[in-house]
Amino acid sequence: MQQEEFPNKVAETYDPASENIKNWFEANKEVLISRNQQGSESFRTKNNFLFPYIEKEIDWTQHKTYKFKDGREVAEFPVLSEKIPIPGFLVDSVDDKSKIKIKQSVLFVKKLEGTDYSPLLVRFYSLQENIDQVSYNHIPKDWNGIIEAFGMNDGHFITFNFEDGKMVSYSKIKANEAKSLKLRNENKSSTCYTYLVENPYHMVCIGGKCTTHHQGYSVRTVCITYQPSGPGGSGPGGDSFCEEFDCYAFPGTVDLGDKLEEDKIDMEELSDCHKKIIEGLIGSTQQEFKRIFEKFNGNQPAPANYNVKFQYGVCANPNANACTSSTLVNNWSTITFNPNNLGNATDLSFARTVLHETLHAYLLFEAAYPSNCDLNCLLNSYLNRYNTQTHNNQTHHNLFVETKFLNDIATELRNYAAGVGYNVNTLGNQFFKDMAWGGLHDTDLFKTLNQSDRNRISNLLLAENTSSTQNNVSPKGIKACE
């Protein structure tokens, strides 16, 4: 048995949303884990079947958020524990139980009214290596495995069986045969069978030593779905289940906002040509921007990874090539390219714009999620210098040019140019240094440059931005996306 940990665990800094949920959980924990009976053994109550109680630790430093189709917000946190029960039928199906990969999460489903949550403990079991890619709202297309949902007291709610990313059946143990199942729409496109079964045995292992838990008989209802759910399916037979007053969507059926790859840099709205330039740029980066793009490209929730979306549109400043939204909505930053002003830009000019705006987005995330003093203390010192509490043009751009970022833009633009076939030695380092000044002519440092340098830089920037000669300076790049 091997429990997969969420990679890239970060220092214990909680965002405000996590803090609120953590506080709510701490205040309600005793009630949530109550088992109405002493001891940690599995047993049956009037309404439920309780599995062996396991001490759990929620990792509050990272979570992913999404919504159920009814609009309720969900925050999914990783859960760690020293031991995890494994379903007996899964143990029986393998020759070596160490092949079973396990992951635990807890979902906090925000109630539509009030400040309370409906928590749900979820355990994922699979023989596949890609279990770290599975979450309650995202079941990979090729995934085979079991998902079991529990209350926080380890009372069993429901078991889902997935094949090739599609739910093929779900089952529920009921202590009382007369009590009807609360599976919504269960007769819509699924057939359910109810029968008496020996209580499911579970094996709990610590350090290779395992204990088997089972007791008596229960009523079990199994539903076979005709129209398997999941990314490739057209929807499950039932789409949610309820326990007491709390209802939950089935796994893989929650609202994904039409995009499964929410963990990647979102370029869906861009033309293939601009996508290609950005992909080439990301691929060619070698230093600081490589790290920054990786931060945006990862699949972990903020602050482990950040999210950025590129789109076309008009900025509040109609003369701007691009602008970056400052408000991080659901931990997404949006960079808007104005096609009216970028329509004639060379590929090098467009790539420079991408680097410049991505750096803004990165600094805004770093301000929202301070990870280390190096950068955040620097940001704060610029806020102090310009006597503002708000990040703005002055603070960011002066920081760009007075620290390593100006050189980083030049270096990475050179790497990109080399990658797409430009003779960078012919272009020379001065060309890339001059290009890096794009958008930064309002800085204190630029104003100290002599007039000749300023003119050279301005002519070059305009030439590359318009693919036309400016005061005898001709563009070196090729007009992008012609």
Binding site: G313, V314, C315, A316, N317, N319, A320, N321, A322, C323, T324, S325, S326, T327, N341, T353, H356, E357, H360, L364, N387, T388, Q389, T390, H391, N392, N393, H396, H397, G438, G439, L440, H441, D442, S458, L461, L462, N465, Q470
Partner: protein, 182 residues
Amino acid sequence: MRIITLFILLLTVTNGCGSKEPDPFDIINVTLHKYLTENNEVLLFAEGNEINFNFLENQCMVWDILNINKEKILEDFELLSENEFQESICKQLESTLVVDHKKLSKKLKLIDNNYLKNQEYGGAFTSYHVVSNPAFFLNGKYAMIYKAVHCGMECGDGMIEVYEANLSGSWRLVFSHLLWIS
């Protein structure tokens, strides 16, 4: 004679109590104060001698911005009703203000698109400011304004600021929120 004296006294008292209509040009001067103290001349965009501002795609999200940040700002926030506030503030911010030159700082130079076209590089690197008509709320105790600096192809920012009136009649910045940066 006694009646006239009483009238003058009454007029003095009511003005002294701050019942004077808040002046939008006071807010414009104060929001650009930093630039006005650091420069001899500050460019302010006002096509046709009018200050005009519209949120992009009618996305006036002032309520959301204040609501998200309410802990950082006014205690009086709880007194506001969402619909009335949103509608009233957005209308004020997006309404036209005809410039009264006597009330604006003398350092402010009003410019328009023609001015920009005639600048070096067609104004591509010219730095100028854009403001909205200020919006007043809670009986003129607070003022909100959109202000931006435009300085070229990847240069500029835009933000919402909220000012609170002091008893002396001056305005104090109590909240600012960056909307975009470029």
